[in-house]
């Protein structure tokens, strides 16, 4: 077993070393690092993240605040100021490498090939311009059309995302929209150029549950229509379970676990994922007497703990014979399509999940 894993490790690194060049996947992120030098030290917001995403599928990125989820998404869109962020690694979008690309190249892709839905639609729309004007602007940047055509398109998009009377609402200002409608307008803007990659950063966190359900339905429908690849960034495991095909659990700027949605919820192999599942009160289960929180708080990204970043909060870190506190665990493929970064043996983890964690969820 150990040897097999060793072989996989070599294969993994060998691939990244040799695999320079355009990948086959629609979106491939390789060893992405985004560091911010500050007066207090280097903030390693994203520290070696790799994943792939195909068109038509959805990747859910989950993690707590400060785990690097949003920084990753801004990095893909090239929205970090290159003056104060050190971005390294590779981001391949449909054969184009983005990290080394010029600002202009990225700008041409942004909005057209890839676009983003932000968390707070009130602060991400300009209060001074009408909703229609903002969508028209985004559309005309990438399409050489007249204002009338663009306006028609904007009305069409607003109608598509379910805004009633779009021909009248197009001239409203963002503050005249309710929270849910603003988020719909935001989605309309993001989709106005039929992007192939859509990044949704906590798209429903600011919304009520009934509106959240509407927005999630909308995103699902639009994905089927446009066959876009979606990255869904959220801290809500429920949202991820509803929408994602694959899940990437981030902790302290690195991937703790990567699995299909089925595996992540039914056979998770990382203590942090167990912790997340145990912390949530669930409506679909008998009410448990107590929740099982993860002790402590997420670490500072300036002083990430030695070894496994999760070790100070991990209930099982003593079982690795001190390895967790000294050696950083590699992200290894333990089962086909299921990767986890943990020093515990696979058997041990399966045993803990079956005997200790799952019965209590």
């Amino acid at each position: 077993m150990a040897r097999k894993r060793q072989a996989e490790l070599v294969n993994d690194t060998g691939e990244t070393a040799a695999g320079r060049g355009a990948p086959t996947a629609f979106l491939e992120v390789r060893d992405l690092k985004i560091h911010f030098p500050t007066d207090d030290g280097l903030v390693k917001s994203v520290d070696g993240l790799s994943f792939k995403l195909e068109r038509g599928s959805t990747l859910g990125i989950v993690g707590e605040s400060g785990s690097g989820k949003s920084v990753t998404s801004l990095g893909i869109l090239g929205l970090h100021n290159r003056g104060n962020a050190n971005v390294s690694g590779e981001i391949w979008l449909d054969g184009t490498e983005l990290v080394g690309a010029s600002q202009n190249e990225v700008r041409r892709l942004r909005g057209r090939k890839m676009s983003m839905i932000f968390q707070d639609p009130l602060s991400s729309m300009h209060p001074f311009y009408t909703v229609g004007k903002q969508i028209i602007e985004a559309y005309r940047v990438h399409n050489d059309v007249s204002k009338q055509v663009a306006r028609k398109h904007a009305i069409d998009m607003l109608g598509r995302v379910g805004i009633p009377k779009p021909d009248q609402r197009v001239d409203d200002y963002p503050h005249q929209f309710s929270g849910g409608m603003r988020q719909r307008a935001m989605i309309a803007m993001a989709l106005s150029c039929d992007p192939e990659l859509l990044i949704a950063d906590e798209p429903t966190t600011a919304l009520d549950v009934t509106v959240q359900a509407q927005i999630l339905d909308l995103i699902r429908d639009l994905q089927q229509e446009f066959n876009s690849a979606i990255i869904m960034i959220t801290h809500d495991l429920g949202v991820v379970a509803e929408l994602s095909d694959d899940i990437l659990v981030m902790y302290a700027g690195r991937c703790a676990e990567y699995a299909s949605v089925e595996d992540a919820f039914h056979r998770p192999l990382h203590p942090y994922t167990w912790g997340l599942l145990g912390s949530m009160p669930r409506l679909d289960r008998e009410r448990s007497e107590r929740l099982m929180p993860i002790k402590g708080t997420p670490p500072s990204l300036i002083n990430v703990p030695e070894g496994c970043a999760f070790n100070p909060r991990c209930a099982y870190c003593d079982l690795t014979g001190g390895k967790s506190t000294t050696e950083r665990p590699e992200l290894l493929e333990v089962e086909p399509g299921h990767k986890a970064a943990c020093h515990l043996s696979l058997e041990k983890r399966r045993e803990i999940w079956d005997s200790e964690i799952r019965p209590k969820l």
Binding site: A213, E242, M280
Partner: protein
């Protein structure tokens, strides 16, 4: 002052908990004392409302009113947790603030420990504030950044002129320990703490004077999942240890289910359903409650697509001009003409389960409110008859 109050409570407690529970020192005993929930109401709210005036013109004449809360009634028993849920703008926070008298009610009555506090002057309220405390949502803005933790948690002692037995510092340190902070944090400032720790500081301040009722307005919604669970557990432990009564205001239905004994669902300034936790979540009667529950994403991919979903259309109407009669009729799939004409009263449709709907679900009772009112007693009798029929 405090001795008088406890003396007044003791007969009630001993009567219901038996003589063993009278000593509140042992936590295990305090846990067994939980049935005290059936006891007397600590807080009663009767037809409480708050209308915020909308003014216009030079003379600031009132042209309209935002009916934030429009007649809610409920009671909170000693030792229980009442959850108030609803979407943003339904008036749950306004209700909480009125209970605290941070807002003056437009109408209605609030009774705390048998005393009408609705119109009480701030001067007379002050001693009551010892028993009535609040936990705020945002642990970042609810703590003064220029004060040390010791000063923040010690402020209630200072404001109420209370001499702690071994000095305020010792008392504060004990409370810090109680909420899971290090007593050595006494001289630190709020910015040195994480969100979860700050919320613990806020809770410590709330607990400083051993209040009887705590209104917690979204106590965990600003926190990360893993930290949220810590704070939820802390609130439960403190309730067991200190015999607290909570009114928890939250929008997260799963958190409310976990923490509450009874739950009130609010929609546009009204309570539409009020029931025991298990009852409400397993047999919701009001269509709105049903819709809310079915909208919660379930963290289990295998249930994707299997669930029966109710998708509400549109948004919550404006509280400036709420729909007449049943306020939910504009979004309700069961709405009939009567829903637009007659407002359904909040009535008890099964023991301990109140709902305000003409066509409630999960009940043998249906049709108009007159029938519903009259049918409460027969329905209880009819249910067993139906069950016995298949056996025969």
């Amino acid at each position: 002052m405090s001795t008088e109050k406890t003396a007044a409570d003791t007969p009630v407690e001993t009567a219901e908990q038996g003589p063993g529970a009278a000593s509140g020192t042992a936590p295990s005993l305090a846990k067994e004392a939980r049935p005290a929930r059936d006891g007397e109401p600590l807080l009663e709210v009767d037809n409480l409302g708050k209308h915020f005036p909308v003014t216009a013109g030079l003379l600031r004449r009132q042209v309209a009113a935002v009916k934030a809360v429009d007649g809610v009634s409920f009671s909170v028993r000693k030792g229980e947790t009442l959850g108030l849920v609803g979407e943003s703008g339904c008036g749950k926070s306004t209700t909480g603030r009125m209970i605290m008298r941070l807002l003056d009610p437009s109408f209605g009555k609030i009774t705390f420990e048998g005393e009408d506090i609705t119109k009480m002057s701030q001067g007379r309220l002050r001693p009551l504030r010892r028993d009535l405390q609040m936990i705020f949502q945002d642990p970042y803005s609810s703590l003064n950044p220029r004060k040390t933790v010791g000063a923040i948690v010690g402020a209630p002692f200072r404001l109420q002129n209370i001499e702690a037995k071994q000095g305020v510092k010792k008392a504060v340190q004990e409370i810090l320990e109680l909420v899971g902070l290090n007593p050595e944090h006494y001289n630190r400032y709020p910015h040195e703490f994480s969100g979860g720790q700050r919320q613990r500081i806020g809770i410590a301040r709330t607990l400083a004077l051993k209040p009887k009722l705590i209104v917690a307005d979204e106590p965990v919604s600003a926190l990360d999942v893993s930290v949220q669970a810590q704070v939820v557990n802390l609130l439960e432990d403190l309730q067991d240890e200190l015999d607290l009564t909570y009114v928890v205001i939250a929008h997260d239905l799963s958190v409310v289910r976990h923490i509450s004994d009874r739950v009130a669902v609010m929609y546009l300034g009204k309570i539409v359903e009020l029931a025991d936790r298990a009852d409400l979540y397993e047999r919701p009667m009001h269509p709105y409650t049903n819709a809310l529950l079915s909208a919660v994403p379930i963290p289990d991919p295998s249930e994707r697509g299997d669930r029966q979903r109710i998708r509400l259309q549109g948004d919550v109407p404006s509280p400036l001009d709420p729909p007449p009669a049943c306020r939910f009729h504009t979004r309700c799939w069961k709405a009939q003409d009567i829903c637009k004409q007659v407002e359904p009263p909040l009535v008890e449709l099964s023991p301990g389960h109140q709902a305000a709907c003409h066509f409630p679900e999960n009940t043998t009772v249906s049709a108009t409110d007159e029938v519903a009112r009259a049918a409460v007693a027969p329905a209880a009798g009819a249910a067993p008859a139906e069950e016995s029929a298949p056996e025969a």
